[in-house]
């Protein structure tokens, strides 16, 4: 099958600084959920920026659906570390921003924004301003904004890092439920092992300085995964073994948050 995203010996450095990523080779199949995890400075976020076309690769080839990554690739959506909402727009208008910039008509914008908000359970909050929402709700808006583009490929850069554990777990479950219906491919960056195991088909462990692939770990737990899955011994032993692998990696700053 034609890969959705293909890295072929991709390296990245900014200017003549040190290599951020070195010879990354990886194929991600359509519909796959791949998490990237590793110590600080392993280039996880840079990896997503390359795929989004925000920054060019220094060497090697990177293709998204057989094309070089470009800005505003249709069907690609990005979820940032922070909710990254415009505080002066209400929830509904925030969701509409990318559609508006892409020149969608007003009716179509509204329709898609409403559908996306319904997916994340925020229909009732459509007229609220971001400051009136909780951290978890803001992140939901951010996800709705990405989903409103009907993406085939979703890039998520530590989206739940700032949330408390309960909220994070619930959003993880919701994310998988939405994915079950829509089947997008996901590249997910995180610091949290349990989250990565819960969500992914495959975890890519990155080593730092320069960022390179250390190991790929398939996660064979069956979908649908629910809150029950976390009680499953197979899940727990996977979390333990991935945590161990991660801890074994040399961590320059020794601050990679390992949360088993």
């Amino acid at each position: 099958m034609r890969p959705s995203v293909a890295f072929d010996a991709v390296s990245k450095r900014y200017g003549d600084g040190p290599a951020i990523l070195e010879r990354i080779s990886l194929r991600i199949a359509p519909g796959e959920f791949v998490s990237f995890i590793g110590p600080s400075g392993c280039g996880k976020s840079t990896l997503l920026k390359l795929v989004a076309g925000l920054s060019p690769v220094t060497s090697g080839t990177l293709t998204v659906d057989d094309h070089a990554p470009a800005l505003a690739t249709p069907e690609l959506a990005f979820v940032f570390q922070e909710p990254t909402l415009l505080p002066w727009l209400n929830v509904e208008r925030n969701v509409e921003v990318p559609l508006r910039l892409r020149g969608e008509s007003k009716e179509r914008r509204r329709e898609r924004a409403r559908a996306a908000l319904a997916l994340v359970g925020l229909t009732e909050r459509a007229q609220y301003y971001p400051r009136q929402l909780s951290g978890g709700q803001r992140m939901r808006v951010s996800i709705a904004r990405a989903l409103s583009l009907s993406p085939k490929l979703l890039l998520l850069d530590e989206p739940f890092g700032a949330l408390d554990e309960m909220t994070r777990d619930r959003l993880n479950e919701e994310l998988l439920a939405i994915r079950a219906e829509h089947g997008w491919t996901a590249l997910f960056v995180t610091h949290a092992v349990a989250e990565a195991v819960f969500l992914s088909n495959r975890i890519v462990l990155l080593a730092a300085n320069p960022g390179r692939i250390h190991r790929e770990i398939p996660i064979d737990l069956p979908y649908p995964r629910t809150a029950e899955t976390r009680l499953n011994p197979a899940f727990q032993s996977l979390v333990a073994s991935v945590s161990q692998e991660l801890r074994a990696l040399p961590s320059p700053a020794a601050d990679a948050a390992v949360r088993p």
Binding site: A72, P98, L101
Partner: protein, 264 residues
């Protein structure tokens, strides 16, 4: 204390009464031959009555100059801020000269301006503009360049044009900064107009503003009338500041954190 409680509401009035009482006391304590230096509050009120028409028309003239200069500064500084926000290079090459503008005392510039533009409303407007411009341009530029990096990325990923980025992202994001500058400028605008008027207001045949009245009353030793002029100037300042506070509330209260209701 609860801000809505009665004592809390009466506090400002109490401060005012105390102030007036101290004023009377100071007046009474002066030796009788020196009392004319500090006219009591009721003498200032009488001066308002005696010089009412002159004060009123002078205040209107000052208001006009202040409004024109303030408005021009608000518009001009916004345009300048857009230019300054373009690149660090532009900022580096223009900021030092903006500083020169700000650091040169207005009382040095004023006589030069009067020679160039003549006495009258044009000079008053320019002087007000010069006083208001700097805090506005500095704040607004800061706002325009403080945009969240991720939001810029989001816009780039949606292939937003630079105009869209400015109008939909940078400009609304800069509004709180703009209003910070505007509040400072609002308190400076009447002062600017009065200083301008002091130097450039005496041309139009009795059409001067409060600055011009200051010259006249001080030359005539009308001290109560000078106090009345000062009170009028303050009133203008409050008017400007109040209008800006209201406008800022109107534009920001729905979304900006500074207007969020807290329980504390």
């Amino acid at each position: 204390m609860n801000p809505r409680s009665l004592p809390h509401r009466l506090l400002p009035a109490f401060t005012g009464v105390l102030f007036i009482a101290l004023w009377y006391a100071a007046h009474a304590l002066l030796a009788s031959e020196r009392r004319f230096l500090l006219p009591p509050p009721h003498a200032v009120l009488r001066a308002f009555h005696d010089h009412g028409p002159a004060l009123w028309s002078a205040a209107l003239n000052t208001l006009q100059g202040a409004l024109l200069g303030f408005g021009a500064a608000a518009v001009g500084s916004s345009l300048a801020a857009v230019v300054l926000s373009l690149t660090p290079l532009v900022r580096a090459s223009l900021y030092p000269y903006l500083m020169i503008l700000q650091l040169t005392p207005i009382i040095v510039i004023a006589p030069i301006l009067v020679l160039w533009a003549g006495a009258g409303i044009i000079s008053v407007t320019i002087i007000t503009f010069l006083i208001c411009f700097f805090p506005l341009v500095v704040n607004t530029t800061q706002g325009l360049i403080s945009t969240d990096r991720n939001l810029v990325d989001l816009f780039r990923m949606s292939r937003a044009s630079r105009t869209q980025e400015l109008l939909l992202l940078r400009a609304p994001g800069a509004l709180p900064y703009f209003f910070t500058g505007l509040r400072i400028a609002a308190t400076l605008a009447p002062i600017g107009a009065i200083v301008g008027d002091f130097y450039a207001g005496n041309s139009a045949g009795g059409q001067g503003g409060l600055g011009f009245l200051t010259i006249i009353y001080s030359s005539q030793f009308k001290i109560a009338a000078l106090f009345a002029t000062a009170v009028s100037s303050c009133a203008l300042g409050f008017l400007f500041a109040g209008a800006v506070v209201a406008l800022s509330w109107f534009c920001l209260h729905r979304w900006h954190d500074s207007y969020s209701r807290s329980d504390t």
